[in-house]
């Protein structure tokens, strides 16, 4: 699906929150003429099986993304910095989900 075809409505990225308190997760994209229609379409396309209780839609054109070509420069330097992971602590008894 392309965002440049002028016969198509603009592309929107859809984020669904499955339960209160959890984050909104990216689930896919769709076409819609405006934000209101994008939410309605997201409801019909992505929440048919009780997947969600809140919907965010974002114009795909509004998302700025890092370039795949830059991946080495951006991410590889973190490879040898294990001290950034909190793995040298002893977890307190009973602490979960950290």
């Amino acid at each position: 699906m392309s965002n440049t075809n002028e016969n198509n409505w603009p592309l929107w990225e859809v984020f669904i929150q499955s339960k209160r308190g959890l984050d909104h997760k990216h689930v896919g994209s769709l076409h819609a003429a405006d934000a209101q229609m994008a939410i309605e379409n997201a409801r019909d396309v992505y929440t048919r099986r009780q997947e969600g209780q809140s919907i965010w839609v974002v114009p795909a054109a509004a998302i700025s993304a890092s370039q795949p070509d830059d991946a080495a420069m951006l991410f590889d330097p973190a490879d040898d910095k294990t001290y950034r992971h909190p793995t040298f602590y002893i977890m307190p008894e009973g602490a979960k989900y950290i």
Binding site: L30, E40, N41, V45, R48
Partner: protein, 252 residues
Amino acid sequence: MTIQEALFTYCLRRGDDNLILSHRLGEWCGHGPQLEEDIALTNRALDLIGQARNYLQYAGQVEGKGRSEDDLAYLRNERQYTNVKLVEQPNGDYAHTMVRSFLFDAWHLPLQQALTRSKDDQLAAIASKAVKEIAYHLKTSGDWMIRFGDGTAESHQRAQRALDDLWTFSGELFATDDVEAVLFAAGIAPDMAAVKSAFDSTVQSVLTEATLKRPMDAYMATGGRQGKHSEHLGFMLAEMQYLQRAYPGAIW
């Protein structure tokens, strides 16, 4: 007419309206103007078929002759169908499809809201489940009225034409007869005058925003409730009932 007879017919009418409109909307499956709209219409059709099942099951139960929802859906002929003529009208263009749904939804929501207070527990239960679905139907069909009406010159013209074409079928939604009177007296069916005034106010506010003109209340086509349908229903039933007619009792 006993309450039981009236209730049977009343349930058939509710079931038939939903079933026939559902089948019409289902005809768009795979042909929607956008993938997203295609799915939205199919969802809407599935909501309606779910409501139709509830009503036809209950109709069979009230009648007490052992007819199942499938018997009622697949083994009645055209003259035994009690849906309004509005819902059997062909899909036409997308404006026709949406105007047809909008007129139906604007009537269906206040009707079902009132039915949640019915003295018949089963009708009240069916309505309570249905009103959330119908509220969404009305929201989205109303949105399309506004998009078309207040959109381009062509979309406005098509929406107005669809409204002018279909308006003649809107009066039948509010027609009352002995069935309604018997059930209204028993506190089972609501006052249709109140439903009509809710319909009028929804239509007024949506059409104003859509910059569309409400057609004059001239001749209203009726007869569907008595089984006198337009020429379109027979063809639809022929397709819908083919399998059960050709292979009686077929299941899978």
